[in-house]
């Protein structure tokens, strides 16, 4: 089950953070997202030459904690998407599909002429679309 999704800009400024559980502390999830930014930097600056493509957007599993797994995705414009999930067995294809839909929703939200680049995304449509994507995650 997905507990949190986040969009972080290219200067590591948060653009959108949304948690999907009431139980867990939102602050803890923010902290996990923040720590995962370091992992992304490392992953991008020191590419592993053993088979993984150098320039792919999907970064895969960033790091597992005790209860959560964190997945990352880096766009061409240096915007990072972070997904925190509590599932124990996660299919790679599911996460990739999720990020693809999420990227499409993000592009639509940013193309809004009233959105100021660099500021937080305040579009309700975006929030609704993200909830739908999270809801339909892994349902097939």
């Amino acid at each position: 089950m997905i507990v949190c999704v986040a969009v972080v800009g290219h200067q590591n400024n948060p653009l959108y953070i949304q948690s999907f559980t009431d139980a867990d502390d939102a602050l803890k999830l923010h902290h996990i997202v923040h720590c995962s930014l370091d992992v992304i930097e490392e992953r991008v600056n020191n590419p592993k030459k053993s088979g993984t493509t150098l320039n792919e957007a999907f970064l895969g599993l960033l790091y597992p904690t005790v209860y959560y797994k964190v997945y990352g995705y880096l766009t061409n414009t240096k915007v990072k998407f972070i997904l925190v999930t509590t599932d124990l067995d996660v299919r790679d294809t599911d996460v990739r599909t999720f990020f693809r839909k999420f990227h499409a929703a993000y592009v639509d939200a940013v193309s809004n002429p009233f959105h100021v680049p660099g500021k937080k995304i305040t579009s309700r449509t975006f929030a609704q679309t993200v909830s739908n994507i999270v809801g339909s995650y892994g349902l097939n």
């Binding site: 290219h10 880096l74 061409n76 002429p113 680049p117």
Partner: protein
Amino acid sequence: MGREVAESCVDTMLMEMVAMYSGRFYANKPELAARRIEAIGYQVGHQLSERYTMERPRFSDHLEAIKFICKDFWSEVFKKQIDNLKTNHRGTFVLQDNKFRWLSRVSIDPSSTSGETEDPSTPGESKAAQAVSMYLYFPCGIIRGVLSNLGIPCAVSADISSLPTCSFVIRVKA
């Protein structure tokens, strides 16, 4: 899938934008009008770059990003690719489009271009050149917006010494 509009709407909007900014808002200050139009282009380029780089893997260097602009981005926005790309390998790129779509309907006054290629002091020619140059700030802004969203700060200017060929000069800031 998005909805489609006729291309004449885009043409009309661009003409009207230039007319409003240089005729009404900043009537006697062409510099300010140009800067404002370029800023609008910057934001548009910023947003378009998000959309058109969605499917692609990340670029490994500046040249790949410029090639993306010449091929994919130019085909999406202008329905053709850049005809010629030159670089001095030290941060300057010249993109040449032999029939720039947004200038294809601009009429060139024949009396001012008949043989007077070396005389910049002819008032007719300089006015025509200045009028056309206002239309180029928007595409320059678009290119600058795309590149800075890809992490490459730069300055873009346009060169219209031979219409309808249009060259865009990109200087990457080190």
